[in-house]
Subunit: 214 residues, 2 copies
Amino acid sequence: MKSASKRDRILDTAEILFAERGFDGVTLRQIAEGANVDVALASYHFGKKLDLFRAVFMRRAPEINSARREALEQAKQAAGEQGLTVEPIIEAFLRPLELAQETGDKGWENYLALIAYINNSPYWGQQMMSEAFDELVEEFIDALRAALPNAQDSDLYWCYNNLSGALTLTFARTGRIDHLSKGLCRSDDFRAAYDHMIPFVAAGFREVCGKHND
Amino acid sequence: MKSASKRDRILDTAEILFAERGFDGVTLRQIAEGANVDVALASYHFGKKLDLFRAVFMRRAPEINSARREALEQAKQAAGEQGLTVEPIIEAFLRPLELAQETGDKGWENYLALIAYINNSPYWGQQMMSEAFDELVEEFIDALRAALPNAQDSDLYWCYNNLSGALTLTFARTGRIDHLSKGLCRSDDFRAAYDHMIPFVAAGFREVCGKHND
DNA sequence: CATGCTATTCAACGTTTGTTGAATACACAA
DNA sequence: TTGTGTATTCAACAAACGTTGAATAGCATG
């Protein structure tokens, strides 16, 4: 990160700090200090503070979307003519994030924590999340609708809401589960988190949206 | 709220604003203005800003805990000798919150949105949440362990993590599901939210923690 | 009425905030 | 070398921040 351009260092540092403390909990001076850069440079490159926040948020979204889309496409290929069932769809939605977190690139961990913050904030929540991710989410809902032909649409959306909540809490890595389980589970054990989340969520969809065709 | 004591009006207003914008997104002057009170009064009653935040957070926690504990006790009575199954345990954990949100007391809605904010914040998350709720959560984990005798403890905690995430996203009422579903689902339709969450979560627990004895 | 205690306001403090305009450094083309 | 545009720093702004000490009001009890 030392050799990256100053513009990128601002983005990287802002990503870390916004993920930890939220938009209002971070000052431009803290970001500038962390990036070893003058305060005014952030304004020069990104404009207002809110524009910097948006830039951080939008930077990695396309990569997530394409990774998920590709995983869904591969699952469809693998399923062949008999069509997709629930579990591979959920798997395609979630595993790319585990992979992102396991790259060792702390940037991804921070970015996903930032998403957790935004997704659960009534103030920031709806607009940015929808703008960045809803188009692709619809593709997954379509796949789930095909796999669960007896489901009502409202059931599918409510189930997606449960999925989204479980996922973003994992992003946040608050360490609460570490404390609650007395060290038995660790918030940063991504493998364990997703290995438990995928069957959990898939079973929930099947239960609520009808077990037929599965 | 007009006739409440000024001290209470500060708490009520702080609850609203903290839930919307988080700790750093709200100023003491905004709180004072909303409560129709001088700025210095908040410091007089509560000390530092952070102490006010804690006071807001801790105010309603005991009421949630006792409502949940009572619901669990009633479920145990109803189950009799054959012991509790998963679904009534989840129901006892979740329904009291639906009831709180349906009282029409906006204070409860705001408070739960505040919990959503804290639970997903790596900065605030662990300490306050654990302090307020973990003791009671352990009682529910115990009940689930009895209902799922083949479960490993780590499985139970990971499943609780999924439950916690789904629940707190519902608390946040970000309106994203309204947009995503094109109005088919509404974030403030608590009945629908819990009616979908309870079977979803119960099925997840049974799937991950073994279907035996259920 | 006087006394004492709590609640509330007033006024001000020293910092810190986001943002900006001018000044400087840098890179590269002519 | 000179010129030009971009990148970066410097210095400063007005506004807003949390917090505090002293002053005032309200209200019980004596």
